[in-house]
């Protein structure tokens, strides 16, 4: 493939995502309004009604129906797109398992937002963490360029013959979704050559009748679920391959786990999503003060990049995992995953994992606060304290 051309534009991230769906020539968009996702679907409706995107826009009456209509459309062979947030994702919950169980390559953008009660429209990762186990490929974008790129990558991965699974691109509500950023907008021919519409899912066809979604008796259920799990695990290789191909055509290289000044770091912070950029600023400041602090960001949440993460963390003496969600009475969900991952690793000296939960519901968590976290952890280490988890940035 030849290199893509691009135009550098200033664009709201939500609009950039809808533009990605247009470049990908999606056939069916089925969506229901919910803050902070609305700008994405509004712009898609605009493009359909202005004749810029040849697609059916189904203005459904709920998110449950949004995902259900995507499933029906995908079963009939359409390239489908939807977007949601928070309560909307929670309402979809049931159908998300069905979309992956029936192997439909639907792509959804989730503008991550907190869950009620109390009702809050602002961003954190509570919504997606409650949907961790749905069997979808799950990416986290940190900025507008990544949101656009990962949407393109998501379609190519989801529709790959070796995968055939739905995929989610997570973006932080407001702090990513509503920000106007400079973005390299690629040309459509390159996008379609990189991610042409492929239909390897089972299809509804009167000439070749099949029954889709039958009853799975206990004799078959485990095998069906294992097949899904194998597909999700094997998508890891396809994702890496796609990141590589993407770099060749579009010139931006992504990886499942991104390292930032972490190779020689004693203390490594682990983050996911838009707050990673704040953490990078914090790392830079601490480095200036000769503190050996680094950052590791997870771009891929499912399938979990076990090996890459272990490799990225192998030299760290102390880990600080910052979660924007909480498993109540448990721990930060990313922290618990990393603890389990390290426990099962062959590392001789396993670093302590400090789990911090913060920046809930759009509450600011600044670079200075990251620096304070590091100091706090240094204090804990001196005193020999390792809390299960701690909620930070709380008013006393």
């Amino acid at each position: 493939m030849k290199k893509a051309t691009h135009e550098r534009v200033a664009i709201e991230v939500s609009i950039a995502i809808s533009e990605a769906a247009r470049l990908l020539d999606v056939d069916v968009v089925s969506a229901y309004p919910i803050t902070p996702q609305t700008h994405i679907v509004e712009h898609l409706a605009d493009m359909v009604n202005n004749g810029e995107l040849d697609a059916e826009y189904i203005p459904v009456e709920s998110e449950h129906s949004a995902m259900s209509a995507c499933i029906g459309a995908s079963a009939a062979g359409a390239r489908t797109f939807t977007a949601t947030s928070s309560q909307g994702l929670a309402l979809m919950h049931e159908t998300l398992f069905i979309a992956s169980g029936m192997r439909f390559p639907i792509v959804m953008v989730v503008a991550n937002r907190s869950l009620s009660a109390p009702l809050s429209i602002w961003g954190d990762h509570s919504d997606i963490m409650a949907n961790r186990d749905i069997g979808w490929v799950q990416f986290f974008a940190e900025n507008g360029q990544e949101a656009l790129d990962l949407t393109i990558i998501a379609y190519r991965v989801a529709e790959d013959k070796r995968v055939v699974l739905p995929a989610i691109v997570n973006i932080d509500g407001f702090t990513v979704s509503h920000v106007t950023e400079p973005v390299f907008m690629p040309d459509q021919a390159s996008v379609l050559e990189f991610a042409p519409h492929k239909m390897f899912q089972m299809l509804l066809d009167p000439d070749r009748p099949v029954m889709m979604g039958p009853v799975g008796i206990p004799e078959i259920y485990t095998e069906a679920k294992m097949a899904l799990d194998i597909a999700l695990l094997e998508s890891r290789a396809v994702i890496d391959e796609t990141f590589g191909e993407f770099a060749k055509v579009f010139g931006r290289k992504y990886s499942a786990v991104e390292k930032y000044k972490s190779d020689d770091a004693d203390i490594v912070i682990v983050t996911m999503g838009g707050i990673s950029e704040t953490a990078m600023t914090a790392v830079d400041r601490m480095r200036k003060r000769r503190k050996k602090v680094g950052l590791v960001r997870l771009r891929l949440w499912r399938p979990f990049p076990f090996d890459d993460l272990r490799d990225a963390l192998k030299k760290a003496k102390v880990l600080i995992v910052f979660d924007r969600a909480l498993s109540f009475g448990g721990c930060g969900p990313v922290a618990s995953e990393i603890r389990a991952n390290l426990y099962n690793s062959k590392l001789k000296r396993k670093p302590p994992v400090f789990s911090f939960v913060g920046a809930l519901s759009g509450r600011d968590f600044t670079a200075d606060q990251f620096a304070e976290l590091v100091e706090k952890v240094e204090g804990y280490i001196k005193k020999g304290i390792l809390p299960e988890y701690e909620i930070v940035g709380v008013r006393e």
């Binding site: 069916v28 040849d54 209509a69 995908s74 062979g77 009748p209 009853v215």
Partner: protein
């Protein structure tokens, strides 16, 4: 609203011989909904896609690796049948337009099928949305008047007085306390091209209504009474007879609403006593004379009201 064109005269002899809902499925003896689906699938023909809600007709037809349908069929969940059908219909439309699929297929009929619970309770929102958006599809509710698949629990379509496992005939409360939800009228209130009621004891009427629904340009809603001997506590051999008595007593009137015009399909010359319908079924066994009188009067009143509607809004 678009026209629902044409009327065909059918006789049992000229019904298609091919079966699209085949034998060997796992329905109970005397299953009314299975009879309904066999007839419906004959009327639809093979250029059809079925979207089936969770329920009896889904599980009896699809235990993997067995299949009963010779028509492409998809089941997703319980409450979202109309939404899934919306997706299928929209996809067919756009893929044809973009020359990606179905280009040589002619009109593919998209049919959503759900029970009374999947329609008038948990699936009502998705159904209302799909009817309002005007998708070109048929929604078929096979009404066996309770959640039979999970073991005879009451739904909003369970008739007044009927005993179910969640509206049992107790010492103080005698069965279902509410009147059956008027689902066809709710569908008609969406101003869609075609709404009809039908039942398995009038097979030609049912067949013709499915054909009309398939010709409608826009959403069509069919409400089909399909007795469940297991849940109604009647002998499997009287399933069809029970369905006929429901019409002849006026309990389940047959009518259609075509482009807003209400028409009775069948008016019994003389209404039978509701007791004749009740006596075949164990679910009404406990009814007191007072309850039966109440039902008899309400049935008469409801029929009168329906007739008034047909006179007022019928074909001039």
């Amino acid at each position: 609203m678009k026209n629902v064109v044409g009327l065909d005269v059918f006789a049992i002899k000229v019904l298609p011989k091919s079966e699209n809902f085949t034998s060997g499925h796992r329905a109970c003896q005397g299953c009314g909904p299975a009879v309904a689906l066999r007839l419906i699938s004959k009327a639809l023909g093979r250029n059809t896609i079925i979207v089936n809600a969770t329920g009896c007709m889904e599980i009896i037809a699809s235990p993997y690796p067995h299949s009963t349908w010779r028509i492409p069929w998809i089941h997703v969940a319980f409450e979202n049948t109309a939404a899934v059908a919306s997706g299928v219909e929209s996809a067919i439309k756009i893929l044809k337009k973009k020359n990606k699929r179905f280009t040589d297929k002619g009109k593919i009929t998209v049919v959503a099928i759900a029970g009374d619970g999947g329609t008038s309770d948990i699936g009502l929102q998705a159904l209302s949305g799909a009817l309002e958006r005007g998708h070109n599809f048929i929604y078929i509710c096979y009404d066996n008047e309770a959640y039979m698949n999970t073991g005879i629990q009451r739904s909003s379509a369970t008739p007044f007085g009927a005993s179910t496992t969640t509206s049992p005939a107790g010492k103080k409360v005698k069965g279902q306390l509410t009147w059956k939800k008027n689902m066809p009228a709710i569908a008609a209130a969406h101003d869609i091209p075609y709404v009809a009621t039908a039942t398995i004891s009038f097979p030609l009427d049912l067949f013709e209504k499915v054909k009309k629904a398939a010709r409608a340009e826009g959403p069509a809603y069919l409400h089909i009474l399909a007795p469940c001997p297991t849940g109604w506590r009647c002998d499997p051999s009287v399933c069809v007879e029970t369905s006929r008595l429901a019409v002849e007593t006026g309990i389940f009137p047959l009518y259609e609403v075509t482009n807003g015009e209400w028409t009775l399909s069948h008016e019994p010359a003389e209404f039978k006593d509701v007791r004749e319908y009740f006596k075949l079924q164990g679910r009404f066994r406990h009814l007191t004379a007072e309850q039966i009188n109440f039902i008899q009067n309400r049935v008469k009143d409801d029929f009168k009201r329906l007739k008034k509607l047909c006179n007022m809004l019928g074909v001039k």
